[in-house]
């Protein structure tokens, strides 16, 4: 079976500095995949290897069974590369149509496809403008639009919402969610909450090594609830939560925020039990969340 992406002992060095160190992973088509890691972890280098912008120092990487950058992937793989800009001498529409032609579309299809992708990123009225006349956020959206031209099977987005205002960032997230049935997205971002909402699988890179590859949703018997209250005496709340039947451990996350570990099989209705206790004690709550956040999952393992 051909994997969407497969890396074997993948290494990338710049001089003496090892940026990616023996990465081994395979990813399948389907839900969006998150690539997470701190600054300098090697995310953009991995992206550049996947797009064929860089060659590995050693090891192998394949996309849909082909080497990145090979002719067989043209039109099947697309990307939003970080910091890449369109040619300032031509209008956005001219360039996107040209990219469409390179992807094998005829003139009319390329024109229609350009109009479609510009409309997807809410820039239908800006096609005649040059990239230099657009704001940073609009240029970013145009770059996302070029990644959606045609029918790519794999769309790689490096920091797709960086530099966008909250409204446009939300639109981009909606767009990815909406299109995730048509293509597999690989998204690199520092925004862990954004990736948590969008992605089914998470690759966590740190210091050039793959620390974790896991589904972003909770699995197994270990239950977890995150509770945020309006207010309340933390000692009293911790004691109340700890005495609930089936609770294994309680922790205070932040002010008025608590985490409960429990056995999901023994107490499948722990959320209802907690809500009943809050009502009895007259404690107003703001949020009750099933499962640990992606941030908690990643950093509780990575940082102990």
């Amino acid at each position: 079976m051909t994997h969407l992406i497969q890396a074997k002992a993948l290494c990338k060095k710049f001089g003496q500095k090892t940026v990616l160190d023996h990465l081994d992973f395979s990813l399948e088509a389907g839900e969006p995949i998150a690539l997470i890691g701190p600054n300098g972890a090697g995310k953009t280098t991995l992206f550049s290897l996947l797009c064929g912008y860089l060659s590995p120092s050693s090891g192998q990487i394949e996309i849909l069974g082909h080497k990145p950058g090979s002719d067989s992937l043209f039109g099947r793989v697309s990307a939003l590369p970080q910091d890449a800009q369109l040619d300032p001498n031509f209008s956005v529409q001219t360039q996107l149509e040209f990219y469409g032609r390179l992807q094998g579309m005829n003139k009319n299809t390329a024109k229609a496809e350009t109009a479609r992708v510009l409309a997807l990123v809410d820039l239908a009225e800006n096609g005649q403008q040059k990239a230099t006349a657009l704001s940073h956020g609009m240029r970013k959206r145009v770059a996302i639009a070029q990644a959606l031209l045609g029918q790519p099977e794999l769309v790689m987005l490096d920091e797709p919402t960086a530099g966008l205002d909250p409204v446009n960032a939300m639109q981009v997230r909606k767009l990815i969610a909406q299109l995730s049935g048509e293509a597999t997205f690989v998204i690199s971002s520092h925004n862990i909450f954004e990736l948590e909402r969008l992605c089914g699988t998470v690759l966590y890179l740190e210091n050039g090594r793959l620390q974790q590859q896991q589904p972003s949703y909770q699995q197994g018997a270990a239950g977890y609830l995150a509770l945020q209250l309006e207010q309340g005496d933390s000692h009293k709340v911790l004691a109340l939560l700890a005495q609930l039947a089936g609770v294994q451990k309680v922790e205070q996350l932040q002010k008025n925020e608590y985490g409960l570990f429990y056995d999901r099989e023994l107490c499948p209705d722990m959320d209802l039990t907690v809500l009943a206790m809050l009502r009895t004690e007259g404690l107003a709550y703001r949020q009750l969340t099933q499962g640990r956040s992606l941030e908690q999952q990643l950093f509780s393992v990575v940082n102990g």
């Binding site: 590369p81 890449a84 800009q85 390179l102």
Partner: protein, 275 residues
Amino acid sequence: MPNFPALASHCVLLARFELYRLIGSPRGWFALGAFAVIWYFLLRYPIFEASVQLQQPDIQGMLGRVFGMVGLYNLLNWPVAELSVYWLITVLLLPLVAVLTSADQTAGDRSRGTLRFLTLRTSRTAIVLGRFAGQMLVQALLVLLSLLATLALAWWRLGSLPLAAVEHALIVWLNLLIVLAPFTAMMALCSALVRSSKLAISLAIVGSGVLVGLLSTLIWYQPDFLWLLQYLPGAQLPLLLGEQGWATFQHAGLPLAQTMVFLVLAWLVMKGKSL
């Protein structure tokens, strides 16, 4: 194994886009405007005045003796004088113009990141070949326009245009493209090596100077290597000026071979480059 039909189709698309850069963008319109002004002055003064002077028997006699000494006697035998002056000017001037105008084949796009968008859709081989073909297409158009203007000038001066002049104009056009090809391919290589057109021009000039200096030093100590100078870009130009008509194409082999070598080197550099 490269997909040759796709490679050819991408090369055509990339070359046409370069032509569109000239005729479809304000930057191209400025370049065309500058081209028209420069050629107005070249046609109005050196070419027209020299063509009139070349009709004087005493001037013809003097030039015949001078050109005969340096092997350029054939320059006086062209069907119309305008073409011989045009040929003399362009064959020496246009290689330098080609170095200056074709320096940004890939450098700017790589530094801006535009090549990252392109390489998701086409191969680096197609980018090198397509951009080179595009530059040649632009040069072919501009040389053709200047040649037509030169023929129009001759027509205006003579009141008619001999058919031989049109044939010679075609020969000049093809020859100039062959002369310009290695310089344009050299700039494809320089452009692939650096990240801006200015650096590419500097690299071409300094690199050529260093190469000539090294060869001269080698020949000073080892005169047996004098033959190496025959293989430098433009080395065939003095021979070319001494020929006329279809005989000029006997010197086409060297520039075409140099073009191939430069393009292969540009492709190798581009293939190994990080984007």
